[in-house]
């Protein structure tokens, strides 16, 4: 036990340091926190569904929970059941063998609900496209509110996408007037217009 305490004390806090003027993660996080407060009340519960991904996106979604990003501090948490979810975070092209499971998961999610397609495959079908085994993009199977391209999208891209999902014009979101005005030049402006899905570029 002593060794663990010693290690913890030595390592210290790992969350990103308070940002300088352009600390992107903090700015994103704070804005996300604010939107969540306004639209959902305190928290955004996400149910992640792998509908056919290569597992690359899952690794990056996992990273959102590590000490560097620690998205729970912004009110985002992953839940074990679609019944508890405000939004589905869907990855992969939709494998035909997952089509029914994805549809049922969507039906099991209480309305109003959001669907976020995470990763190039979920957005467009990506490297796999449409075939005898793949339905391609998530929107070919269930309605999608926001797309986050990237192969896979980095944790910051995922955060930007979550923020985009909570923008006022999203059709499935509850109609609560926005008290907070978007920040001028805020990261949300470049939302769905992402940096593109070309990895290694």
């Amino acid at each position: 036990m002593f060794r663990i305490l010693k290690q913890s004390l030595r390592t210290g806090l790992l969350t990103e340091p308070a940002p300088p003027a352009d600390g992107e993660l903090e700015a994103l996080g704070i804005e996300l926190r604010r939107r969540i407060d306004v639209r959902l009340g305190r928290s955004l519960a996400l149910r992640q569904v792998d509908a056919g991904s290569c597992n690359g996106c899952e690794l990056e979604i996992h990273a959102l929970n590590n000490a560097y990003y620690d998205v729970e501090r912004f009110g985002v948490h992953f839940v074990a059941s679609p019944r508890h979810a405000d939004a589905l975070l869907v990855t992969g092209p939709v494998a035909r063998h997952m089509e029914a499971a994805l549809r049922r998961t969507w039906l099991a999610t209480p309305s109003p609900k959001l669907v976020i397609a995470a990763g190039t495959c979920a957005c467009t079908g990506g490297e796999f496209g449409v075939s005898y085994a793949s339905c391609g993009a998530v929107e070919n199977v269930i309605p999608v509110d926001v797309k986050i391209p990237g192969c896979p999208p980095a944790p910051l891209d995922l955060l930007r996408g979550l923020l985009a999902a909570l923008l006022p014009e999203r059709r499935h979101a509850p109609r609560v007037p926005l008290r907070a005005r978007p920040l001028a030049g805020s990261p949300t402006e470049s939302l769905v217009r992402s940096k593109g899905g070309e990895p290694g570029a």
């Binding site: 790992l14 792998d50 290569c54 990056e60 005898y132 192969c151």
Partner: protein, 528 residues
């Protein structure tokens, strides 16, 4: 010991049983040897291979025009032997290898579902990869099957798969999946338990079947490397390397020494990232959050350096046909060396805690034990095999550049439990750091990519790479137009998924997550 010292004995035994080798050559799939057999002799050749102590590394069908070629890969003492036979498309029937090699059960059913080859005497007649996306009697990898498929409209759920039943007083079933509670890939597990004890576990996979083998057809080499890098995203370097190695062997391309060294650096970085993430996740599954948080931070740090040095957090698309797509930045070697030092320093106290902590010992020791007999019979490689006494490692036992010039230490355990798999992985992290230091000291100068010659029609190659999960075997055949006609990536998970079904016996249901994580077989790499 010289290469293929065991082969004359095998061929002699074949001859004694009246099995004639129609051809025996060294060049068709070099460095593997190829033995061509009549289709009728297929089953016997498998039986005799088991008798001489070969490991079965998988088999796959390859429809070529009006015939189907089937190849099986056997390994002994680091030597790869490919058995090959040809059948007419109209009546493709083969003797099954499964009775002699239980690990190839699902590979044969996969071949049955996708290529339409009936395996005689196979103990399990159920479909495997096929759910409801195509019908019985349709075979997606046949040339007459359209890539878009024949079924229109929605795909039904695969509700009527005949799971094996266990009946008795107090026996109950737990169906889990395909959508799991965590952030993981989809698959179905059917437990039969009494009280907390698991009597039987049956896996049902295939949910993330994306038609990789079919959509590979017609791609150019660069496109195939991209696809191979997405067979299993956590093994993107290893799978891309295996595919590129197969294409390079098929065309006679030798990647420049600098490219080979950089590929190895990438592969070892991938190994370390995955080992770190999984060691932490295993600890988390038994409630030891400390190790999880520490490992996750080290992994994140590692991935950020991947981004800076190689342009991608998971290292996707850096391995390309003929070499690598990008060089290290100017001070890259120094940065890497500093990175290795920093990781070693951070791991020393952390691994000391994980290795010797009463709470972890209590949960991990003797949990999920895979006996050496099962590991060997199934043909497990990687940490699952190594923790159960199977010391095989491609980098050491069938070395390819640049490992042929390095000393590769292979940690082996004998207990076969979750703790042993964790220990093997901790040891592998250190071994990889040592390897990378060796690689950095001899990083050659020179080109990053060697030209890939125009592939001849029918050119074939077999790639074999040690990924972090174990041995990856990839077969590539080019068509007349210089494009891919067949691509088969065989992930090591084919052999570790059945191991999970066995090692869970006698454990309690709540220990399944940690057992599963300790194996961490790939769904995507298996479902294709």
């Amino acid at each position: 010991m010289s290469r293929f010292a065991w082969l004359p004995d095998y061929l002699a035994r074949l001859a004694r049983e009246g099995v004639t080798a129609l051809a025996d050559d060294r060049d068709a799939l070099a460095p593997a040897r190829r033995v061509v057999l009549a289709a009728d002799d297929w089953g016997a050749a498998g039986r005799i291979a088991a008798a001489v102590g070969c490991r079965h590394a998988g088999l796959w069908g390859d429809p070529e025009g009006e015939r189907i070629v089937v190849r099986a890969c056997l390994v002994r003492d680091g030597d790869y032997l490919v058995l090959e036979t040809t059948m007419p498309l109209r009546q493709p029937v083969l003797g099954s290898h499964t009775p002699h090699f239980p690990g190839v059960d699902r590979l044969e059913r996969h071949m049955q579902d996708l290529v339409g080859i009936a395996c005689l005497n196979h103990p399990d007649s159920r479909r495997w990869t096929r759910h409801q996306a195509w019908s019985d009697g349709d075979f997606p990898l046949r040339n007459d099957f359209p890539v878009a498929g024949r079924a229109a409209g929605r795909t039904r759920a695969d509700a009527d798969y005949p799971f094996a039943r266990v009946q008795g007083s107090g026996v109950y079933e737990i169906p889990v999946g395909p959508v799991h509670a965590g952030i993981i890939e989809p698959g179905h597990f059917r437990f039969q338990a009494v009280g907390e004890e698991v009597l039987r576990l049956e896996e049902r996979l295939g949910y993330v079947h994306k038609g990789i083998e079919k959509i590979a057809v017609g791609r150019d080499p660069v496109g195939l490397a991209r696809l191979a890098g997405r067979v299993s995203g956590d093994s993107t370097v290893a799978h891309a390397w295996a595919a590129c190695q197969a294409m390079e062997r098929a065309t006679g391309c030798e990647p420049p020494p600098r490219a080979a060294t950089l590929r190895a650096l990438l592969a070892e970085r991938e190994r370390i990232a995955n080992h770190l993430g999984d060691i932490g996740a295993i600890c988390n599954d038994v409630g030891f959050a400390f190790a999880h948080v520490q490992c996750a931070r080290l992994r994140e740090h590692w991935q950020r350096h991947n981004q800076v040095l190689f342009g991608h957090r998971l290292l996707m698309d850096v391995v390309v046909p003929g070499g690598v797509a990008r060089d290290l930045p100017a001070n890259g070697a120094d940065t890497l060396a500093a990175d290795h030092r920093a990781l070693r320093k951070a791991l020393k106290p952390l691994f000391a805690v994980i290795d010797d902590h009463p709470s972890l010992d209590d949960r991990l020791l003797d949990t999920g034990r895979l006996s050496a007999e099962y590991a060997s019979a199934l043909g497990c490689t990687g940490y699952v095999g190594k923790a159960s006494g199977q010391g095989f490692d491609v980098r050491r036992d069938a070395p390819y550049a640049p490992y042929d010039g390095l000393r590769v230490d292979v940690p082996v355990g004998s207990e076969g439990d979750v703790a042993a798999r964790v220990r093997v992985r901790m040891a592998e992290v250190h071994a990889s750091l040592d390897l990378m230091d060796q690689l950095l000291t001899r990083l050659p100068r020179g080109d990053l990519v060697g030209p890939l010659p125009e592939p001849e029609s029918g050119a074939r190659g077999l790639g074999c790479i040690d990924g972090w999960r174990g041995e990856i075997l990839t077969f590539v055949r080019f068509g007349a137009d210089g494009r891919i006609a067949r691509f088969f990536p065989r992930d090591p998970s084919w052999f570790t998924w059945p191991a999970l079904e066995r090692l869970i016996h006698g454990n309690i249901v709540p220990d399944f997550p940690v057992c599963n994580k300790s194996v961490n077989a790939s769904y995507s790499g298996h479902d294709l």
